[in-house]
């Protein structure tokens, strides 16, 4: 079903909006780095964010799970609505939000003091409520879903940091999946990896789309074109264009978008 609707989702009433970003601005002290951005993210889609370095794409992504505000002097204005709840409502606990919105970082960051298995189950373990057996089953399911089970099933008790870079990144994806998030935020997840490891992660993202909504920041235009359904182009903190990926790359409406794409690809 996914594949046939891919091209005209916008008009399809059956596709739900999972995450609605309304007039979002993000600041470091008085410096406004994300300027009044509004985007709707649809269920089970991959949404790429592209733009030159320093355009605020990572900050925008980090505003979606309220991790931006953990940096000193950083703050956010606007609304991000998940399941009819504004995650920036004063009554909302950011800790609860981050359980529903998973995040994968630029550099693989499995906890150095934990084994592969412990790394996967640490999220559910923190929040409690699952038996040991349930946790182990969950770990297997998540590792399978992150396409790394076959590679690590014999070394579940080894240090997470003993794996290769690509494996560590998939381990981090499994760790995020263990909380069964609605949305998965990925901040340049392949930029620290070699081409083969990157390709594996891209394949994995296509699989993940069947269950999750993925928001992907990437500096790699090819990656955005290959795997995303929608692409947003940011420049100097402003959203220049947001449309279906095929449209944006073949027929950009904005001159700036066109220039950027031409320069990068050409």
């Amino acid at each position: 079903m996914m594949d046939n609707t891919c091209n005209n989702k916008k008009n399809d009433e059956n596709i739900n909006i999972v995450l609605k970003v309304k007039n979002l601005s993000a600041y470091f002290a008085d410096n406004m780095v994300v300027k009044n951005i509004s985007i709707d993210y649809y269920e089970k889609s991959i949404n790429a964010i592209i733009g030159p370095s320093g355009c605020g794409k990572s900050t925008f992504l980090r505003s979606l799970n309220r991790i931006h505000e953990t940096v000193l002097d950083a703050r956010v204005e606007g609304n991000v609505i998940l399941d009819n709840i504004d995650i920036y409502d004063p009554s909302v606990d950011p800790v609860e939000i981050r359980k529903k919105i998973g995040m994968v970082f630029q550099r693989p960051n499995p906890f150095p003091s934990m084994s592969v298995l412990e790394n996967v189950i640490i999220g559910p373990k923190l929040h409690g409520g699952l038996s040991k057996n349930a946790l182990i089953e969950l770990a297997e399911a998540c590792l399978r879903r992150a396409a790394i089970w076959d590679e690590v099933k014999d070394k579940l008790n080894k240090d997470g940091t003993s794996l290769s870079g690509g494996q560590q990144q998939r381990l981090c994806i499994a760790r995020a999946l263990a909380l069964n998030p609605k949305v998965l935020l990925m901040d340049e997840p392949t930029s620290a990896l070699d081409p083969i490891a990157s390709a594996k992660i891209e394949e994995l993202m296509k699989e993940l789309k069947k269950h999750y909504t993925v928001v992907l920041v990437t500096h790699n235009m090819g990656q955005a074109a290959r795997i995303s359904d929608y692409t947003s182009f940011l420049m100097s903190g402003e959203l220049i264009e947001h449309s279906e990926t095929s449209d944006l790359f073949t027929n950009p409406k904005n001159k700036q978008t066109e220039d950027y794409i031409m320069r990068k690809f050409g």
């Binding site: 799970n65 991790i67 953990t70 000193l72 800790v95 609860e96 981050r98 359980k99 998973g102 995040m103 970082f105 550099r107 960051n109 499995p110 906890f111 150095p112 003091s113 934990m114 640490i122 999220g123 923190l126 929040h127 240090d159 940091t161 003993s162 981090c172 760790r175 995020a176 909380l179």
Partner: protein
């Protein structure tokens, strides 16, 4: 023309001389530094050899039995280090047990929790404790801490956990406990500042990974700050222990300097360093002096060992990812 050539030759000669002196200077400077550094190391060796030589009469007389022998009687010329070894171990370990929670939590507060503006102020204040001369700690201990232990702490301890063997017997205030408390205050800044450096070196990406999984601020600290730093904390504790082992002045003033082994923390005792400071000046007999030197040699070896092991731990047992990132 000739003048010109002469001038040129003069200039060339000058340049050549300057280069030569520059080279000479450089060589001289470098070898001077070598000599200075080497002499420091040689000095330590010479100190150790001298100490060993001076303690030779006691070593030949008592051998290793010196370490386990309980009697310290200068009149009968019977010397055993056990009471002092015991006092040293008890006061250092106890002070470490008291100081570790304070040191580590102050470091956590300063690096992770406290308001940014307060951090620098708090950090510097704690570091300043380390610069207070130990004699001042000793005086404060004698005038305030000792009466406090005698009049307030002892009744409190006796009424609550007085059945334990550690709190038996009369309390004069001057005690192993007083020494341990003073020592713990003196080593808190060491632990605190080492731990602060350690926690700051944990990559932010671990903290963010914990937060992104829905960890509360406290869980974040446990997962992404404490867990990766555990070996480093052990190392910091070791360095603090080495300081506690050798600390003399403050201990001399509050421990009572009595060469008896007692399980009670309320009873007076002595440490290796305190007995050295106390008796060295008055040691008449050669054997007495040699025994004190023997004790100094032991203290020297123990502190050196504890110090090097802790430094080794801090340097080589960092989690792998720290080095990779």
């Amino acid at each position: 023309m000739l003048l010109c050539q002469q001038n040129l030759a003069k200039k060339l000669l000058m340049v050549f001389k300057m280069k030569l002196t520059a080279k000479l200077e450089e060589r001289l400077g470098i070898s001077l530094m070598y000599i200075v550094v080497l002499s420091i190391i040689i000095l330590i060796f010479v100190m150790f050899i001298l100490l060993f030589k001076m303690s030779w009469p006691a070593i030949t007389k008592f051998g290793f039995h010196f370490i386990t022998s309980k009697e310290w009687n200068p009149v009968k010329e019977q010397f055993g280090a056990w009471p002092f070894l015991y006092g040293t171990i008890i006061t250092s370990i106890l002070s470490l047990m008291i100081a570790l929670p304070f040191g580590v939590s102050s470091a956590i507060f300063i690096t992770e929790i406290g308001p940014k503006k307060l951090r620098i102020f708090l950090g510097t204040s704690i570091d300043l404790i380390a610069s207070i001369p130990s004699i001042i700690f000793g005086m404060w201990g004698l005038f305030y801490l000792v009466p406090f232990i005698r009049e307030t702490l002892t009744p409190l301890l006796k009424n609550s956990i007085g059945f334990l063997p550690f709190f038996q017997g009369p309390s004069f205030g001057i005690s192993l406990l007083a020494a341990s408390l003073i020592l713990s205050i003196m080593i808190i800044p060491i632990i605190s500042s080492l731990c602060r450096e350690l926690f700051l070196s944990v990559p932010v990406t671990y903290k963010e990974a914990a937060l992104a999984l829905g960890a509360t601020p406290f869980e974040k600290i446990k997962l992404a700050v404490l867990a990766p730093s555990i070996t480093g904390i052990v190392g910091a504790a070791g360095l603090a222990l080495a300081r506690a082992l050798g600390e003399t002045m403050a201990v001399v003033m509050v421990i009572g300097n009595s060469p008896h082994v007692s399980l009670s923390l309320l009873s007076p005792g002595a440490t290796m360093a305190s007995i050295l400071a106390n008796e060295y000046a008055e040691a008449g007999a050669d054997l007495h002096l040699a025994s004190l030197c023997y004790m100094a040699t032991l203290l020297f070896i123990v502190t050196m060992l504890v110090n090097s092991i802790s430094r080794f731990i801090i340097k080589y047992f960092k989690p792998k990812a720290f080095r990779g990132l």
